[in-house]
């Protein structure tokens, strides 16, 4: 198992390296050139020339790449063109919001998706099964931002049950040691604040998590159907095992393998979807940060954001692989 993990880590490196090259080239491909990218709209001829000298942009490309790599690895991603603050600093402030949203969406989709798929498989061919298939199909056909808009309209605007924007009511005072508002509220021992934070999380989490829910439900259903027909399930029944035990220990345990893989794949979707969801709910995370950056041509931010997101994506994939290996004794013991 350890060898497996190490091998996966090693395979990761060329991908990360390739990513850095890709982003590096991308910066250079941006309209106006990298100097312009760094300066934004305040670029004059002399300023550009000075930047070019300063950043060694007149040197050969591989030297530039090397310096670039050095700076990135030291944690320096440049300064935001609009706020003049360190990109890394802004990133650190904003990513908890997105991660919190992503985790909430992930919890929502697995918590409802797996049982839905499981019961659909158990009642194969029945009305519930058909209903779940239809619901899944519609679920994957709704764009995230549209769902967000609809949810907002129904629950926030019309019914007024839930708040419309932001992570927390402006009137609530809360310390933010971690910037994960849920954790902050718990740490502060403030149940009213916690409830408020959760209320703000609900709609965006549902909007973001609906497509993964639909996909997870479908995969669970397919996996359970497949596993149910396996010989070892027949053996378990022939041994006189109670149906609940057969379902839990034999069917689900084996069905989890493909399900976990799919859950891992959803992370990429969640990160991408966060960009859209955050704009609908004015959620102050990486999504809105990046969207604003696009509009204001804030290339250092864009670069930092994309690198960060790709890094997370790659790391999560590694975790998924590792957990798959853990669940599958054939790999675990090799």
């Amino acid at each position: 198992m350890l060898r497996f993990v190490v091998r996966r880590l090693l395979l990761l490196l060329p991908i990360l390296l390739g990513l850095s090259i890709l982003v590096f080239l991308w910066i250079r491909a941006l309209p106006g050139g990298p100097a312009q990218a760094l300066l934004g709209e305040r670029a004059t001829e002399e300023a550009i020339a000075q930047i070019e000298r300063e950043y060694g942009l007149d040197k050969p490309i591989y030297v530039q790449y090397w310096r670039y790599l050095e700076t990135v690895l030291q944690g320096d991603l440049g300064q935001s063109v609009t706020t003049r603050r360190d990109v890394t600093e802004e990133l650190r402030q904003k990513f908890p919001a997105t991660i919190e949203l992503a985790i909430a969406a992930m919890l929502f989709s697995t918590f409802f998706g797996i049982p839905l798929g499981f019961f659909a498989a158990k009642r194969y061919g029945g009305t519930f099964d058909h209903f779940s298939l239809v619901a899944s199909l519609i679920g994957v056909s709704i764009p995230v931002f549209f769902l967000g808009i609809i949810l907002k309209y129904v629950f926030a605007v019309q019914l007024g049950w839930l708040p419309t924007v932001g992570r927390i009511d402006v009137l609530i005072e809360l310390e933010h040691p971690t910037n994960f508002y849920v954790i902050d509220a718990i740490l502060a021992g403030d149940p009213a604040a916690l409830w408020d934070v959760l209320k703000h999380l609900i709609l965006p989490a549902i909007a973001l998590g609906s497509i993964p829910l639909a996909i997870i439900a479908r995969i669970t259903r397919a996996a359970v159907l497949d596993v149910q027909n396996e010989d070892y399930v027949r053996t378990a029944r022939a041994k006189g095992m109670p149906p609940a035990v057969v379902d839990r220990r034999h069917v689900l345990r084996n069905a989890m393998l493909p399900i976990v893989t799919i859950i891992g794949l959803q992370v990429g979707f969640l990160l991408a979807g966060a960009v859209l969801t955050e704009t609908v709910f004015a959620w102050p995370g990486i999504g809105t940060w990046l969207v604003d950056a696009i509009e204001s041509r804030n290339y250092p931010v864009l670069q930092g954001g994309i690198l960060f997101v790709a890094l997370i994506f790659v790391v999560v994939n590694l975790l998924v692989d590792v957990s798959y290996a853990f669940l599958n004794p054939r790999i675990r013991l090799s």
Partner: protein, 336 residues
Amino acid sequence: MRTPLLTVEDLEVRFGTSRGLVYAVNGISFDIAPGETLGIVGESGCGKSVTSLALLGILARNGRVTGGTAMFGGRDLLKLKDEQLRLIRGREIAMIFQDPMTSLNPVLTIGKQLREPLQVHFGMDKSQADRRAVELLEQVGIPSAKQRLRDYPHQFSGGMRQRVMIAIALACEPKLLIADEPTTALDVTIQAQILELLKTLVSERDTALMLITHDLGVVAGMCERVNVMYAGMFMETGSAAALFSQPRHPYTLGLLQSVPRLDAGRRQKLMPIPGSPRNMLSPPGECPFAPRCRYEVEQSRQQVPPLEEIEPGHQVRCFNPVPADEWQRERLGGAA
């Protein structure tokens, strides 16, 4: 003969498929006594596996028992509810399957899978169950049993896995063991070992054994009585000795003839049974073997022949049974 353990009468099983109803089992009757070994022989698709699955109530979703009774311990298995059947499965009637690789759960240890029936049926705790599990593994001939408890199925070879399956099946000392093609998926050399093991174990415990197979060789070495099955019905039943020396049904004769023999001359032609198995989408209205039969007569095409006793203990379902000495003549004189 002792009082039968299991008495099956007129069992009928059908499957609902998108192409219509499949009449998998069409009225079979048999019984098996404690300590007895009964063989059910037939080609793939004749319904022999379905029979045992129906008895235990673990047919596929689209399968249904549409007729017959199966008396076991004073109760009709086919009428029991699943919770009641569950107490019998693994405890009084156990089953082992064809492919040990796919029949064991790949993500659970062997120990866990052995403990399961012990915990469920006998309420043993983990250490009790483990002790018994080690005993069982040793009885089926697996070395280093204690360490092996923690291993997973993929860490065993094919023959070993089948031994484990046997251990699991015998864990609760069932009265009847059903073995569905237990050696088909194994190498020839291992086959003999497994069969020997089975033979020893059931005789030690006085367990009844129902051996389902398509392999005549397996049956010959193991079974006292044999039922030959075709198209969901028994074509011939009797003692192994009688069937092998004096087969009366053309199908049984055909099966024996189709086995290539080492002592036949090099120029001896192989004799397969011509044609293909019957389409099971309709209930039988004639002798199911008639289309492939050399001995068919007009009546064969008009009704299904009844299963009748042709000699004490020897039944045949045929309007024109093969002469009693036919097989011996062919064997000694060379095939025609």
